[in-house]
Amino acid sequence: MANQQPNSGNPRVDIEYRRKKSAEEMRHQVITFALMIFLTIVAFVAAGYEGFSGWFVVPFILILALVQVVFQLYYFMHMSHKGHEAPAMFLYSGAFVGFITIIAFLTVIWW
């Protein structure tokens, strides 16, 4: 199996290896979570602060949202793992069609 860990022939050693691997992954996920909280706070502060104009804040918080979603997809939903080629294709196709829809509604209908 593609994402089976290397086999040393000694099950105990393999389990130790896997435990270490998943503990390490968990640590990365906690760091990801801290970053996501940080990005969220930055977005709320930017939107709440009177001194910034909408022309700065709107693109800025949209970029923060995109970064946060990439974290969520690749770390929390494991898209960074092997064997996620088809899921990536499904999701990006959906995002592409969705993006076109939003652009269409924002440009064709009201202006």
């Binding site: 199996m1 994402n3 089976q4 860990q5 099950p11 389990i15 896997r18 435990r19 998943s22 992954e25 968990m26 996920q29 906690v30 979570f33 996501m36 909280i37 969220t40 977005a43 709320f44 930017a46 939107a47 709440g48 909408g54 804040v57 709107v58 918080i61 949209l62 923060l64 949202a65 946060q68 979603v69 969520q72 997809l73 929390f76 939903m77 064997g83 088809a86 899921p87 499904f90 999701l91 196709s93 959906g94 995002a95 069609v97 969705g98 993006f99 829809t101 939003i102 269409a104 509604f105 924002l106 209908i109 009201w110």
Partner: protein, 209 residues
């Protein structure tokens, strides 16, 4: 590998969510569904953006009158934290620790319930304080359709996870139910992905104007 086979800590594979053919199909099919959900939510976002602040008379509440930072912030924190707790649950699933997985799924459900409770309070508040309802304006229809659809996803996710927890409470982990838990946690993360765009596009952009 037989799905009902009694597993132990030693025999539990590295990717228990993808061991059987059924599990692989489930995994692929679920991601296909998530691609479709992306399109669905994008069209609701597009509708909302097109109809935002379109109200029939000038004394009706607009986005900047309605939304408040503290409530949106607390809801965001609840949902974001519940995403992490479901990651914890899947970590314990991979380590064949059924009890801890159930515990973290339980915490996830509680956080989700907190989110849903605040959303109900919020909608109730808008309807009674601002007369901003589903039928009061195009803005109202678009807002409640988008945010309400997300709320319905949260409610469905809670039912799904709770059902899995109860149904499997005496069975323990097997290669039959591990993919079920895994797919439910993917769904829960996707709900958070959608919420990130909702709090940005609806709440924060609404407050900016």
């Amino acid at each position: 590998m037989a799905t009902e086979q009694k597993m132990t800590y030693e025999t539990w594979p590295a990717s228990p969510e993808k061991q059987t053919l059924e599990a692989k199909n489930k995994f692929l099919g679920f991601w296909f569904f998530l691609g479709g959900e992306t399109v669905l939510f994008a069209s609701l976002f597009a509708t909302y953006l097109a109809l935002k602040d379109k109200v029939p008379s000038s004394d009706m509440a607009l986005a900047k009158d309605l939304f408040e930072i503290p409530l949106a912030f607390i809801m965001t924190m609840l949902l974001l934290t519940s995403s992490l707790t479901s990651v914890y649950a899947m970590y314990h699933m991979k380590n064949f620790n059924f009890k801890k997985m159930q515990l973290w799924l339980g915490i996830t459900v509680l956080l989700g319930l907190g989110f849903l409770g605040l959303e109900i309070y919020e909608f109730n508040h808008y309807v009674h304080e601002f007369h901003h309802s589903f039928t009061s304006s195009a803005f109202g229809s678009a807002f409640y359709t988008l945010v309400g659809f997300h709320g319905a996803h949260v409610a469905f996710g809670l039912l799904w996870i709770t059902t899995l927890m109860i149904r499997n409470s005496k069975r323990g982990l097997s290669l039959y139910n591990a993919p079920k838990f895994y797919v439910a946690s993917l769904y829960w993360h996707f709900i958070d992905v959608v919420w990130v765009f909702i709090f940005t596009v609806v709440y924060l952009m609404g407050m900016v104007g």
